[in-house]
């Protein structure tokens, strides 16, 4: 067979060694799949390539696998191990894609593997992988619903995730797996509300829809008062018939009861959480995505107080300009809304005017809306519009217009006669469809006041000669029969004509002829007896059993015989009873019991998986369930020891970790918005009694760890810095600052000065303010990388008096430092520089710091450059001051101390004849003109070592001699500290795996088993800064090489009995290796 040959050809290509051939083959196969052709026989040949190195081939193989794995389960298993390997890959994108494909393979055997993979991924560091995990949940659920319980656990965990990336996907999973578990939402409700604006658009739709349902179960109906009134109003309007009287009475009673019940109830106060939802969704009405706008619109329709629903109208009207499919859906929803809340769309009446170019289905829907919007004031304009529509070429549309006119006429009694006249004029229309539709509508209208309109009935009777449309003929016949008393002369004649044509009529017409005959027989038996008999006889032998049955039934009923007893007496009553006029109702009436915007609403039928919109509760459930617990975890955080626990923390509080790094600027875009809402809250609280925000802040002031407060605060800060390009890092720092602050507070410190404890007692609001200030200024310090020289850090200078106390505490720390060492210039700068590092260590440690442990002098190691003997009395020592060399940031500052031990002065100390490896540079120190005997002088020179430990050779010249000297830096001095958050650290570390990672096991020196010594020794060995870390088993440090700025990350993980593991991640492998050696030595000596 040709096809099998062709496949052989493909198989051959797949087996080849060339990627290009494989790729070509895969492309052809995927094209086959796309066209819907069967390519399943290639499975073995394709699956072999699952581990192919070429990324495009791999991708296409994945596509193939996902498509056919279900059919070839056994073979598909061959590929599983590849994905399992991928799940462990250091690259988050590869992990995610492995999980994605693994979970898309619908093979039941691997359910446990999938479950495991999902659980693992749900606590992955990368939010992108967690998002993929959320996506995988419904896949697994549809494969094996028995996993539900386990999956719910994962969902619960992911719901607590605070990254916007995950939120949409996990809510989607929630909706598919366990939409009934509304209790899982409580704790996350406020977070979801607050995140909403940052979530991608598709996630927004899902979250909003879910929150609508949630709100319906948790809050009270905001329209509780109005809805009663409204119902009363509409009741009066819609009920024309007398039959409804009873019902109405009942309703009346109910209403009274309710009103009575209401009186007992407290006046309605909106739950602040309810307000939060409304406020946070409103900006999304401006989304470019129609689905989001619709979702917000339905939320407002179902949840907002009546007075506020109006805002959605404008946005919905704007959507009408979109694609016709969007229009179609939006108009359906507008039609439903306009019945309940007509006023909302009235100002936009003209936007619903119909153009001849609109598709018919759109025209009909617009007509529906126009009809719903019609009232006494605008009816004349609407009718004028309708007049133009009736002339349209689109006959279906004309028919709909006539129906619409009929409805306007029934709803607005003022125009009933005008409408009727207009419709009667249409009876002479050339188009039969138009006439027929008019007849049907007129029939309905006449039923309301038949006595006034016998003319019209006569006119219609004449039409029977011309009109062929069955429905119209049937309507006329019914009308004549019903009101035969008004047209006593014509009616029998019509029956005569009908009897003549009976056999050729449609069934519905035949039924009406029988009906007419029966009615005439009862009222005017003299004239019509024979005719009736004739018609009934014809009907008796009709092909349609319905008609035969009807004929038999009617004959028995109206023609008195011996047998027909009781019933025939009442025949007249049966046939000529007063019938209630039909109510011309919108087909969209009462559709709003479906959630608007849903598929079920559109189809007016419950679709599979539709979640009912619950009724408002009578009494609101406990609102405190949404309170997020005060985080006692914060003090714990530092102590938290087990690894597992820390992991948990990560998920719970990605606020510190992920959300920061992942969504800086985005958040800032909206952080602004949030803070703005914050300021709005005062006005919001005016109307709702108590705004959520104000309450929150109260709470927050009681318990400083309240997270909203933090967020708020941070956002405020960000707003301030909005235009600064480095906002991200800044905000991170600030959050860290805060963190630190909390920790510091929560921990008693024995060695604290009085001022410190004073500060603790200060009111929270103040301190929170000062926090932000101080973090800012600190950030500034870092940013400028230019610590003020020979001055304490600049912070206190900028402080307002209020904050001075707080600053005192920082200054106190400075006081802990030992007295300045002889190197006057660099010491202070060093202090300010390392202060951050030290504070970091301080805050993260449990034990009390003794001042000695952070003594920096020990960290500054001096090296000899020139011995006084070789130097003939001149001795030179140098040390790496670890201070940024201001003339050139790429240089390492080398601090030199010249001591003249000779008895004579030394003059013109300077450098000459510098010999360097290529790329290296030296910035000489300014010449020292005179060094008197016995004196000491210092100078700083800069050397760019080009990130290598090559020595810099040069001559040191005095006025008399030249000395050959060289400076060789220890590797630890080739870097400068950088400030990273834990999260950033992990992120960066994730990118420096493999070759760039060096791990070494070691046993710690006995003296070096506590955290502080480790920190101290590491920072002595290398110019790194401490990275905050949630575990006391790990110390992390970060820095960048001075010249190239490559990141250097160091982790020391301690275990029992002094065992430890040292990990260094650095792009420059040489530096990494050397650094490992140095640190190892420092820790084990």
């Amino acid at each position: 067979m040709f096809s099998s040959h062709r496949h052989d050809d493909l198989k051959e290509m797949l087996d080849s060694n060339k990627d290009s051939l494989k790729l070509e083959a895969m492309k052809r196969i995927v094209a086959m799949i796309a066209r819907g052709k069967n390519a399943s026989d290639l499975f073995p040949a394709v699956v072999k390539n699952v581990a192919c190195k070429n990324i495009e081939v791999k991708k296409l193989v994945y596509v193939y696998l996902v498509r056919y794995a279900e059919e070839q389960q056994d073979l598909a298993l061959l590929s599983i191990s590849t994905f399992q390997r991928g799940l462990k890959d250091p690259n988050q994108l590869i992990r995610a894609s492995a999980l994605r494909v693994l979970s898309s393979i619908r093979v039941t055997i691997i359910v446990p593997i999938m479950m495991l993979a999902i659980k693992e991924a749900a606590s992955d560091m990368s939010p992108y992988v967690r998002k993929t995990a959320a996506h995988a949940i419904p896949k697994l659920y549809s494969l094996d619903p028995e996993q539900k319980d386990q999956l719910i656990e994962v969902i619960e965990k992911l719901l607590a995730d605070k990254t916007t990336l995950v939120a949409g996907s996990v809510v989607m999973a929630f909706e598919e797996v366990c939409p009934e578990r509304i209790d899982l939402i409580h704790k996350n409700y406020r977070k979801l509300c607050n995140l909403l604006i940052d979530v991608e658009e598709w996630g927004q739709v899902v979250i909003i829809n879910m929150l609508t349902r949630y709100a319906r179960t948790q809050f009270l109906n905001p329209n509780i008062n109005e809805s009663l009134l409204e119902e009363g109003g509409s009741g009066d309007k819609t009920f024309y018939g007398s039959d409804e009287d009873e019902d109405e009475d009942e309703e009346e009673k109910e209403k009274k009861a309710e009103v009575a019940a209401m009186a007992k109830r407290k006046p309605y106060v909106m739950d602040p959480d309810h307000r939060l939802l409304l406020r946070n969704t409103k900006p999304l009405l401006q989304s470019r995505n129609a689905a989001v706008v619709m979702a917000v619109a339905q939320l407002y329709f179902h949840l907002a107080p009546k007075a506020e629903v109006g805002v959605i109208a404008k946005a919905l009207v704007r959507l009408l300009r979109s694609h016709s499919e969007v229009q179609y859906v939006v108009l359906q929803n507008v039609a439903t809304m306009s019945i309940k809340r007509r006023g909302m769309f009235e100002p936009y009446l003209k936007s619903f005017y119909i153009r001849s170019t609109d598709p018919t289905q759109i025209k009909v829907l617009k007509l529906e809306v126009l009809t719903n919007l019609a009232n006494e004031t605008n009816i004349s304009t609407i009718l004028r519009e309708f007049q133009t529509y009736i002339k349209s070429m689109d006959k279906d549309f004309v028919a709909a217009t006539i129906q619409a006119i009929g409805r306007c006429a029934t709803n607005i009694s003022e125009v009933r006669d005008t409408c009727l006249n207009g419709l009667v004029q249409l009876l002479s229309n050339r188009d039969e469809l138009v006439v027929a539709e008019s007849v049907v509508v007129i029939k309905k209208l006449l039923q309301m006041q038949p006595e006034k309109h016998s003319d019209i009935i006569k006119h219609m009777a004449k039409l029977t000669d011309n009109i062929q449309v069955p429905m119209a003929r049937a309507s006329i016949l019914w009308l004549i029969g019903e009101y035969c008393e008004h047209v006593p002369k014509i009616a029998p004649d019509v029956l005569r004509k009908m009897a003549k044509s009976f056999t050729n009529e449609e069934d519905i017409v035949k039924l009406q002829i029988i009906n007419l005959a029966a009615k005439l027989y009862l009222t005017n038996s003299k004239q019509t007896k024979l005719l009736t008999q004739y018609v009934l006889n014809l009907a008796k032998y009709d092909q349609n059993y319905d008609i035969r049955d009807r004929a038999r039934f009617i004959r028995q009923l109206i023609v008195p015989t011996e047998k027909s007893g009781a019933l025939s007496k009442y025949a007249k009553k049966l046939f000529l009873a007063l019938k209630p006029a039909p109510v011309l109702e919108s087909p969209f009436k009462d559709r709003d019991h479906f959630q608007l915007g849903s598929l079920s609403h559109l189809l007016n039928a419950k679709a599979g998986g539709y979640q009912e919109l619950p009724d408002w509760p009578e009494a609101a459930p406990d609102p405190s369930v949404r309170n997020v617990e005060v985080k006692e975890s914060v003090p714990e955080w530092t102590k938290c020891s087990s690894r597992e626990k820390r992991k948990e923390k990560k998920v719970e509080k990605p606020f510190y970790t992920d959300s920061e790094g992942e969504s800086g600027p985005t958040e800032s875009a909206d952080s602004e918005s949030d803070s703005a809402t914050g300021s709005e809250s005062s006005s919001g609280s005016e109307e709702s009694g108590s705004g959520s925000e104000s309450e929150e802040s109260k709470e927050a002031s009681e318990s400083e760890e309240e997270e909203e407060e933090e967020e708020e605060e941070e956002k405020k800060k960000k707003k301030k810095d909005l235009k600064k390009p480095v906002q991200e890092s800044e905000s991170e720092q600030s959050s860290e600052e805060e963190e630190r602050k909390h920790q510091r507070k929560s921990k008693p410190r024995k060695s604290e000065s009085e001022s410190e404890s004073d500060e603790d007692e200060e009111s929270e609001s103040e301190s929170s303010q000062s926090e932000s200030e101080d973090s800012e200024s600190e950030a500034e310090v870092k940013k400028k990388k230019k610590p003020a020289e020979s001055k304490p850090p600049p912070k206190p200078v900028k402080k307002e008096s209020k904050k001075e106390k707080k600053e005192m505490s920082l200054l106190d720390l400075d006081d802990f430092e030992p007295a300045p060492s002889p190197q006057v210039t660099p010491v202070n700068t060093f202090l300010s520089n390392s202060l951050v590092t030290d504070l970091e260590g301080l805050s993260l440690s449990d034990s009390v710091l003794s001042p000695a442990t952070i003594a920096p002098s020990s960290t500054l190691k001096s090296y000899e450059l020139l011995h006084r003997i070789t130097g003939e009395g001149l001795s030179v020592e140098y040390c790496f001051s670890r201070q940024p060399f201001s003339p050139d940031a790429n240089m390492v500052a080398v601090q030199m101390q010249f001591t003249n031990n000779a008895s004579s002065d030394t003059k013109n100390l300077h450098i000459e004849d510098v010999k360097l490896q290529s790329g290296m540079r030296v910035k000489e120190f300014p010449e020292i003109e005179l060094l008197p005997a016995g004196e000491t002088a210092t100078a700083v020179m800069g050397i760019d070592f080009c990130d290598s430990t090559q020595a810099a050779n040069f001559q040191l010249c005095t006025h008399t001699r030249k000395f050959f000297v060289s400076i060789q830096p220890p590797v630890g001095e080739l870097m400068r500290p950088v400030f990273l958050t834990e999260n950033e650290f992990k992120k960066e570390q994730g990118q420096l795996m493999g070759m760039n990672e060096i791990t070494e096991k070691l046993t710690l020196d006995v003296k070096c088993r506590n955290e502080h010594t480790i920190v101290q020794r590491v920072t002595t060995a290398a110019n790194l800064s401490r990275v905050p870390c949630g575990s006391d088993k790990e110390c992390r440090f970060a820095g960048r090489t001075v010249t190239s700025g490559s990141l250097v990350l160091v982790t020391v993980a301690t275990k029992e009995e002094g065992a430890a593991q040292l990990t260094v991640n650095c792009e420059k492998m040489v530096i990494g290796t050397m650094l490992v050696k140095d640190i190892l030595q420092a820790l084990t000596q």
Partner: protein, 418 residues
């Protein structure tokens, strides 16, 4: 959510299918074909159809149907909006969205669909992100690829999805940094037989073409932002900034995108740039009709009206048109019954006129309705609403970009009833 997607051409052939869950037989489309048959006009096919086991949601774009199969409750707009996004992506990638172009790039299309949905839920829909993963085809690259066996798949793994600004990729570099904005306004109007305006609205859109290096942070402010009370934004726009200061502050996506759309509703006074005098009559006797149309300038704000065009959908009974135009050309298509009069520039001194007779089918009653006129026009360098961009500032980057704003007014759904 979205289970499967079928692409169907105007002949009713399925030329692409993609399933995100288990495979659904393409016979499910039969329900759609049935509805398609019934609707006569492709535009009248209901976008949502119910079948015994599935729901079909479809859109009609570029003579193609995008038909998606749904099994459970999902907001229909969600699906519709997504399908349009798919079509937009094809347009973006291939320059057009037609059957031939999709068939030519079947593999890329398939890969795109694979990336855009995961298990039926949208995953990556931002074109900036997609382009990082799957490079759009271009002639040079396809030549190179055939020679070297290279591929269209990005070598590097995309970072966009992970970035904090999902709509912009990192590391953008241009030699010339430029940012152009097109303010386009369309007038939707219905004008009465007598020339009075029944309804008139303006639909405005600001399209941007931004080619700036790095991470620029732009701020656009308007002379008269009060005009804009009904707006929708690209996700990049900081909404609160707009709320409080009425400026557009945003980090733009790279390349072309729609920055915002706005709507100036019929409650405001909208200037109508032209007036139309027309009379179309059909005579009972002689089965013929007369047509006489004159167009003149009304409120053009001193600018020239260009690309003026009148389209009339004639009643079925009109067989042919025998007309003379003082300016421009007219064509009459007997099968579609479309009369198109292409005028060009409107000369206020000498108003264009089209008149003549229409020949009608004999023995058919005259149409009682007069067809309505659809007007197309264009006015350069004018936003009819009066909107004006006052300045565009850039923060975050050092270089000085070229900036430009262009204004155009067009007729949207501009209809004159007769």
């Amino acid at each position: 959510m979205i289970h499967s997607l079928f692409l169907i051409n105007h002949l009713g052939d399925i030329f692409l299918e993609k399933h995100w869950k288990s495979v659904i037989s393409r016979s499910v489309c039969d329900y759609f074909f049935e509805a398609r048959e019934k609707a006569v006009d492709p535009e009248n096919v209901p976008p949502v159809l119910q079948t015994p086991h599935h729901y079909l949601i479809s859109i009609y774009r570029g003579k193609l149907f995008f038909l998606s199969v749904i099994q459970t409750e999902v907001p229909p707009l969600f699906v519709i909006e997504f399908l349009h996004r798919v079509a937009d992506t094809f347009q973006d990638y291939f320059g057009e969205c037609s059957e031939s172009v999709i068939s030519d790039n079947l593999v890329i299309v398939y890969e795109l669909l694979e990336e855009m949905l995961d298990n039926g839920f949208p995953l990556a829909t931002e074109s900036n992100v997609l382009k990082e993963m799957i490079r759009p085809p271009n002639i040079l690259r396809s030549v190179v690829n055939t020679l070297t066996g290279g591929s269209n798949v990005g070598e590097t793994l995309p970072q966009g999805q992970l970035s904090n600004i999902p709509w912009r990729r990192a590391g953008v570099k241009y030699a010339n940094n430029e940012a152009y904005f097109d303010v386009t306004e369309e007038i939707d109007a219905i004008v009465d037989k007598s020339g009075t305006t029944v309804s008139a609205e303006i639909q405005g859109v600001i399209e941007a073409c931004v080619k700036l290096s790095g991470m620029p942070d732009l701020t656009m402010s308007f002379m008269n932002p009060r005009l804009l009370d009904d707006v929708s934004f690209h996700p990049c726009v900081r909404f609160r900034r707009w709320e409080s200061e009425r400026v557009l502050s945003f980090i733009p996506p790279d390349g072309n995108f729609t920055l915002m759309t706005y709507h100036i509703s019929s409650q405001n006074l909208v200037a109508i740039p032209v007036y139309v005098k027309q009379s179309i009559n059909f005579f009972e006797a002689g089965s013929c009709g007369r047509l006489d149309i004159t167009i003149g300038p009304k409120q053009t704000m001193g600018k020239t009206v260009e690309d003026l065009k009148v389209t009339i959908h004639m009643p079925k009974a009109v067989l042919n048109a025998n007309l003379t135009a003082t300016q421009g050309n007219y064509t009459y298509d007997c099968t579609t019954k479309m009369l198109v009069w292409d005028i060009g520039k409107l000369n206020p001194q000498k108003l264009p006129n089209l008149r003549g007779s229409l020949s009608m089918q004999t023995g058919v009653p005259n149409p009682e309705e007069n067809p309505s006129l659809n007007i197309d026009l264009k006015i350069q360098q004018l936003a009819i609403s009066g909107l004006k961009v006052s300045r565009l500032d850039m923060y975050g980057e050092k270089y000085k970009p070229f900036k430009g704003v262009k204004y155009v007014t067009k007729a949207g759904k501009f209809q004159v009833r007769t």
